[in-house]
């Protein structure tokens, strides 16, 4: 049988190419995930450990001490006074770590920046100098190279930092690894302490060279090694979670690859039934035939996996280089070869091929030696759909539906996953019955021209079903993700609109706003509408500083929630408690609100989103002041506004009027960007599976074309032009792709609905299912086009053969 095995491999290797490609892609996916995980971990290690490299001990807040001693912004950091005292005592042997977010002005550009301390001794400095020198004392700073590039700062420039616009000379540029202490601007310790009264100022840790001596109360000292190991464990948990996600997507890709492999073997073995029968005729036992084809499958799987490992490794290292070049802010190290991942990739690829070929090879032994003697038409690839298969499919659908119902009722994620799997399994099993019928319906739309294509596509139900199943999986997941994220995004938007109804608020507690400010704001690019809000500056019990108390009956003009937040019940005051620090009041309290000698008692209601002002009903405002003055301008931005520029412009206007600006735009933009990144990442990861499935369509078509060479020759003899033949095959591929996509879209939307009912509604109560029709339409269109594309190679090959050659070939 060795000769038979080798000859088979030699003769048929080319026909395994597509299946091998599917396995290569799947294996490469696994290896890429491995390399990227290792790279991310290496990057984190480089970054996280850096500040402690020259240190022996690290002083941190004792997590066991309650209440925590840190400042109110960051309670779990060190007690500021104690930390400063410790650094003073240890001098050059200590390096305080922390940072503070401050306003910054570079030339005319205003913005904000993070400022952190730099160690006094060189051994404890973890920033790496790339130009100039380190700061020698007060009034000097070094800037991180990324920020220097972004803001066009060079050595010798001056920047203004902090509320008092402290002027700092830039004496150097540094590169610093990504850690929790990373900042954009670094200054000497004494300069850092200059902002110690700022509410966000904190000292997280102190890296110490040598012995710490007495540790301040509420803090503990650990060895640097201990600290780094422990911190890394936490960080790797994060990377492990990402790796797990990657592995899940790789698993989907491998399942799809398995389907393609199974189909390839099923088709090839069906084509070779006569060979097997002949082997049996000349005396090969069942075991011998079976062993030969199984070894053939194993050889294909091992070979493909062997190619997939270096391909994946190359891609992974390439991606790390790309990420480092494109996004230097993302920490990615260049890891050593992640050998376990490489081995796992190889093993999984070989295993998937072996398992996928198991069923088709079993069919091989059923062939009777007599089949070789019968005329060819008797070797019919058509298989009846077994009763047991139908029964299994039906139970899968029923059990799946019930479980999904239970999952919705009990809001249970695990039950939902199980139900989804059972239901989808049922659909896949039902494929040979359902898919050909759908192909017929879709084919009818093509008219008589598509008749042959339709007939070809349905003549072998199981083959068609497996081919479409591969695509079905990818499309279902893609649709579910698109719909789920659209729903989640809409719900998030709705919540944001409710919590932050006003995009930008300009306000002042000092003088009333000048009359022309409103017009200036309205004239600013990116402002859609703006209103002036009237009120008076009032003292509120429990608040340290006076605040504007206003009434906004026309808030609906600008508010994203329709103005609901500003419709205040008489007798209450609504406060955006998020905008105040050090609050002495809580929702439900009754507080006295005073303007001059007038006074009303109001109940506090907490809402958020319009900034540092109290909202009252017009009649309550009338009891406090006779002629309310303009105290705030509320802005609704245009959808295409550039948030950074707009906020800059408005900050300029506000500064001129002695007012401040509070905006939600950047938070909104970040939220939108995060959602976009998530959507595209998931689509990209699923794209691999979809690509494999499309290879599968081309594969099925290519193998079927080999089988139908004689028919095609006859059709060509009867007058089918080359172009018609190519179109017929393209239509066949497109029919399979479109049916898989339509079915996948339907199931995907249904799954998204279930997920919405089970999960999203729980998290965001007002979420309603959003079906992203344009995106789903694009998915169907792209799938159809890709199907046509997949047919190009087989169709060209089929059309090249002259009719005479096709007729004489056996």
């Amino acid at each position: 049988m060795r000769t038979v095995l080798l000859a088979s491999l030699r003769t048929h290797l080319r026909r395994y190419v597509a299946a091998a490609v599917a396995v290569v892609v799947g294996v490469a996916f696994v290896v890429v995930v491995g390399v990227l995980t290792a790279g991310a971990r290496a990057g984190l290690m480089d970054g996280f450990g850096a500040p402690y490299r020259g240190a022996d001990h690290v002083v941190v807040a004792d997590p066991g001490v309650r209440p925590p001693r840190g400042p109110s912004c960051c309670p779990d950091t060190l007690d500021v006074a104690a930390a400063i005292a410790l650094v003073d005592r240890l001098g050059d042997d200590a390096s305080g770590l922390g940072r503070v977010l401050l306003p910054m002005q570079v030339g005319d550009e205003r913005g904000s920046t993070t400022v952190g301390p730099i160690a006094a001794s060189e051994e404890l400095r973890w920033q790496e100098l790339t130009a100039g020198r380190f700061p020698a004392g007060d009034g000097e700073a070094v800037v991180h190279v990324w920020d220097a590039t972004a803001l066009d700062i060079a050595v010798g420039d001056r920047i203004r930092v902090g509320a008092d616009a402290t002027e700092l000379a830039v004496v150097g540029l540094v590169n610093s690894p990504s850690t929790e202490s990373q900042a954009s601007v670094y200054v000497a310790w004494a300069q850092y302490l200059h902002w110690r009264e700022h509410p966000l100022f904190h000292i997280g840790k102190i890296a110490v060279r040598g012995d710490v001596g007495p540790v301040p109360e509420g803090a503990v000292a650990r060895t640097a090694e201990e600290h780094v190991t422990e911190g890394l464990a936490g960080l790797s948990n994060d990377t492990d979670a990402y790796a797990l996600m990657g592995v899940l997507f790789a698993a989907v890709a491998l399942v799809v690859a398995g389907l393609v492999v199974a189909n390839t073997f099923a088709i090839l073995f069906a084509q070779r039934m006569r060979d097997f029968a002949l082997l049996r005729c000349v005396g090969a036992t069942r075991r011998q035939v079976l062993g030969s084809v199984r070894r053939e499958a194993l050889a294909v799987g091992a070979l493909a996996s062997l190619i997939g490992v270096p391909v994946g490794g190359g891609l992974g290292y390439g991606l790390i280089a790309l990420v480092n070049a494109v996004a230097p802010t993302t920490p990615m190290g260049v890891p050593g070869l992640p050998v376990p991942w490489l081995l796992a990739g190889f093993a999984v690829g070989t295993l998937v091929t072996a398992v996928a070929s198991w069923l088709p090879t079993r069919g091989v032994v059923r062939v009777s030696p007599l089949a070789a003697l019968r005329p060819e038409s008797a070797v019919d690839a058509r298989t009846a759909t077994g009763r047991s298969r139908l029964a299994l499919a039906a139970s899968g659908l029923v059990v799946g539906t019930v479980l999904l119902g239970v999952a919705i009722a009990r809001r249970d994620t695990m039950v939902m996953v199980a139900g989804g799997a059972a239901f989808f399994g049922g659909v896949l099993l039902l494929g040979p019955v359902v898919v050909p019928r759908m192909v017929r319906v879709a084919g009818a739309l093509l008219g008589p021209a598509g008749r042959l294509a339709t007939e070809n596509a349905v003549r072998n139900p199981r083959r068609t079903a497996t081919t479409t199943a591969a695509l079905l999986i990818g499309v279902t997941l893609t649709t579910a993700v698109l719909t789920g994220l659209a729903t989640y995004g809409a719900a998030l938007d709705e919540t944001t609109n409710r919590n932050h109804p006003v995009d930008v608020a300009l306000g002042s507690t000092a003088a009333p706003l000048p009359a022309d400010l409103l017009d200036q704001v309205r004239g600013t690019t990116g402002v859609e509408r703006a209103i002036a809000v009237h009120g008076a500056v009032a003292r509120v019990d429990g608040l340290a500083h006076p605040i504007p108390v206003v009434s906004a009956p026309d808030a609906a003009h600008v508010a994203r929630d329709g103005g609901g937040f500003a419709r205040v019940e008489p007798g209450t005051i609504r406060l955006d408690l998020g905008s105040f620090r050090d609050l002495g009041i809580e929702p439900g309290d009754r507080v006295a609100v005073r303007v001059g000698d007038r006074r009303v008692e109001l109940r506090v209601i907490s809402l958020s989103g319009w900034g540092n002002a109290g909202l009252v009903a017009p009649e309550d405002l009338a009891r406090l002041v006779d002629t309310p003055e303009p105290r705030a301008v509320w802005v609704r931005t245009a959808p295409d506004a550039d948030p950074l520029r707009l906020v800059d412009d408005l900050t300029g206007l506000a500064a001129g009027a002695g007012a401040g600006v509070e905006d939600q735009l950047q938070a909104r933009a970040v939220q939108q960007r995060e959602l976009d990144v998530l959507t595209w990442s998931v689509l990209g990861l699923l794209g691999v599976s979809v690509a494999i499935a499309l290879v599968g369509i081309g594969n099925t078509l290519g193998l079927s074309v080999l089988e139908r060479a004689r028919e095609h020759a006859m059709l060509r003899a009867l007058g089918l032009t080359r172009r018609q033949l190519r179109r017929m095959l393209a239509a066949e591929a497109a029919l399979m792709a479109v049916v898989a996509t339509l079915l996948g879209t339907t199931i995907g939307v249904a799954f998204a609905w279930v997920t919405h009912e089970t999960l999203i509604k729980q998290a965001l109560t007002r979420a309603t299912l959003q079906i992203p029709w344009p995106s789903l339409g694009a998915v169907v269109l792209v799938a159809a086009l890709a199907g046509v594309l997949a047919s190009v190679v087989p169709a060209r090959r089929a059309a090249r053969v002259t009719p005479a050659a096709g007729l004489t070939h056996d």
Binding site: S377, D380, P448, A449, R451, L452, E455, N456, V458, R459, R710, E711, M714, L715, R716, A717, L718, G719, L720, T721, R722, R723, Q724, T802, P803, A804, A805, L807, T808
Partner: protein, 234 residues
Amino acid sequence: MTSTARRATREALAVSARDLTKTYGRGDAQVHALRGIDLDLVRGRFTAIMGPSGSGKSTLMHCLAGLDQASGGTVTVAGTELGSLDDDALTVFRREHVGFVFQAFNLLPMLTALQNILLPLELGGRRVDEETRERAHALAETLGVADRLDHRPAELSGGQQQRVAIARALVTGPDLLFADEPTGNLDSATSAEVLEHLRRSARELGRTVVMVTHDRDAAAYADDVVTMRDGRIA
């Protein structure tokens, strides 16, 4: 010969081949399947091509029918020189002027007999109207397969399949009908029926029929017999 006489001869000729050669492969493996064939086939006649296996019968038929390009020489069918046509034009030419019956695998397995018969019309983009349907039924009636039109090829006997194939070859009303060993797989009674139908196509419908066969009894149905030996007409 006067010019009118020459034109009359030319019009009477359905197929004319001049110095036709066909070689397969190159170098040592080169096979001269046709070595300079001159052949004229007269319109409305039933010609049988005979000869031993490997003598080039099928190759000759493929070249005459425009299924394959000759290596040298010319083939003129119904006044058109086939060498001057590109693949698309040749395909359309076949669709309009030529019908085929092969030894086996004549029918598409997934279409019914009637669909198979109507296939050439459909490929030509012609709408299948009542009239063509009538014609197909009439042909099926003549060929004795009218009661099998809704069956698929797998449900038909070999003889029935061949008769469906003849009906399909005739449905477009072609000038020429080529048959490559149409009775190779049939018993003598069924063979006789099929051959009778081919002869009637020539006699009654005026088609030019060319049949390749090994069988002397089959050749006896033909008006003319051309014998080939080693790529030449003997």
